[in-house]
């Protein structure tokens, strides 16, 4: 490979790596085969500028003149717009050259790593290579009573996004190679992920081996458990001290919400609760850390990326510490004696996204165009 070619591929790969988590209503590991690469040239026939991922459809002519229509996944519209691309950057009838990763199986679909507009030579993803400016450093904002503010200060906007990790593993200090969807490089590492009961380990390994094909999130089931904190689309804290509760709004879960009561009510018991995707949460302050206990989860969803199972006995204890203006430390203890042999903990940091609100997002927005294709 020439130096120039390797630079282009490295650039494209970098773009892809930066880009993969942002359009992940479906895990990329599930849909695409990253071991293969694909080049296509064709004419744009349709543009679907919709969540969770925009698609361009092109007619591609093969060597004998047969035309086939391909779906080219180009990314989440919100992220594309932030990178300077708009729904009308491409037009029906434009000729484009696409490099990408092909879909698994026989589907004529690819995840674009680069798209070049033939008539101008403009590269669709150029803007993504620009480093994002670091937010200005500032101390933790506080309420008059001294508690840290978890949301924006008065007159400001912002939310929590860009988690430092999108997977949950037991915090043992041992590095476990896996991708951003939580797909292990080596299935033999499963024992290092969490202290599974035998059935739970078998289910976890099954989900890994089948590349998360049964992930309920793929079918727009909400990201309950810790999963909304692994989501690129972020969360927003709406604190209401006057009524002693905190609302959590999810950027990646179809305008979902979660309520954390801080009025001192006791934690519920699952047998007395209507089991839900987000459970029943109570919170209290421990110094500068908000400690939230949640029970009452149903079993209809995966509570984290990577396919770790849980049962209705799941009890999460989350600790939120805003260590400075731009950093939220998220630690969680998983206690599910029906799936794990003991309680275990993990966590990551979440970055403040200043001067923006979480965006409207509906995961099924492109269901008609893609899934019924």
């Amino acid at each position: 490979m020439t130096h120039a070619k390797s630079k282009i591929w490295a650039l494209s790969l970098g773009i892809l790596l930066a880009y993969v988590p942002v359009s992940a209503q479906r895990a990329k590991s599930t849909a695409y085969d990253s071991d293969r690469k694909l080049k296509l040239s064709g004419t744009v026939t349709r543009i679907d500028w919709v969540n969770p991922s925009a698609f361009v459809f092109i007619n591609v002519k093969d060597a004998v003149g047969t035309v086939a229509n391909w779906a080219v996944e180009i990314g989440n519209p919100l992220d594309l717009q932030r990178d300077g691309w708009k729904w009308n950057s491409l037009h029906i009838g434009d000729s484009i050259a696409v490099e990408g990763i092909p879909a698994r199986g026989a589907a004529r679909q690819t995840l674009a790593t680069s798209v070049i507009l033939s008539k101008t030579g403009a590269r669709l993803f150029t803007a993504s290579t620009k480093p994002k400016p670091k937010p200005v450093s500032a101390p933790t904002p506080r309420w008059p009573d001294g508690h840290p503010r978890l949301g924006p200060p008065p007159g400001k906007t912002g939310y929590w996004g860009a988690p430092s990790s999108t997977v949950l593993v037991e915090n043992t200090g041992v590095a476990i190679p896996m991708n951003k969807d939580g797909l292990l490089n080596n299935i033999a590492d499963a024992d290092k992920v969490a202290p599974f009961q035998p059935w739970a380990k078998a289910v976890y390994e099954y989900r890994q081996r089948t590349l998360f094909k049964d992930d309920p999130y793929n079918r727009c089931i909400p990201p309950g458990g810790v999963r909304h904190f692994q989501n690129h689309y972020g969360v927003q804290f709406i604190e209401q001290p006057e009524v002693k509760r905190i609302l959590l709004l999810m950027g990646g879960g179809d305008r979902n919400w979660r309520i954390i009561y801080t009025d001192g009510r006791p934690i519920g018991h699952k047998d007395e609760l209507v089991l839900t995707y987000y459970g029943a949460s109570t919170g209290k302050w421990d110094g500068d850390t908000l400690v939230v206990d949640t029970v009452g989860f149903n079993e209809k969803f995966w509570f984290t990326n990577g396919g770790l199972p849980h049962t209705e006995a799941l009890h999460l204890t989350e600790r939120f510490t805003r260590s400075d203006f731009n950093t939220l430390k998220y630690q969680v203890t998983v206690d599910d004696p029906q799936a794990y042999t003991r309680p275990w903990s993990g966590g990551w940091n979440i970055q403040w996204v200043p001067d923006e609100d979480i965006q409207e997002y509906f995961c099924e927005e492109n269901a008609e165009s893609i899934f019924s294709r």
Binding site: K201, V203, T210, D214, E299, K300, A313, Q338
Partner: protein, 128 residues
């Protein structure tokens, strides 16, 4: 009394219907068994996982019985042993050995052999 029984059954089904992604045996399973393709008997089994054992109720209602269920997650084989009543009301022992298929699917199945008393047959259960 019928209404109460129906309500109890309905609630049992409704509660178990919440379970989809937890222990793979948890839920309500419907299907049949029989010695031939045409001679079949319908069965309903409600299974729950308590963290140590799978509990099962076979044919919930007036003729319900409990069974002992074991799962080998290394190969997804399932064994059920129970004492049930046959069509004449006499107690009869059941041993069913099956395999859980398509573990991650909402409507997964268990398929295998069913021995009820001296009668050998096969069975298929699908989770609702």
């Amino acid at each position: 009394m019928f209404q109460l029984g129906f309500l109890t059954f309905f609630l049992a089904v409704a509660v178990s219907a919440l379970a989809q992604q937890g222990h793979p045996l948890t839920g309500t399973w419907n299907g049949d068994w029989g010695p031939t393709p045409t001679e079949r008997t319908q069965i309903t089994i409600v299974m729950t996982w308590d963290g140590k054992a799978v509990n099962s109720i076979i044919n919930p209602g007036a003729d319900a019985s409990t069974g002992i269920v074991s799962l080998d997650p290394t190969n997804w084989t399932v064994r059920l042993e129970a004492d049930v009543k046959d069509k004449s009301g006499k107690p009869v022992h059941v041993i069913a050995d099956g395999k859980l298929e398509d573990v991650g699917a909402y409507h997964r199945t268990i398929i295998g052999t069913w021995r009820q008393g001296t009668v050998n047959g096969n069975f298929k259960l699908t989770r609702d």
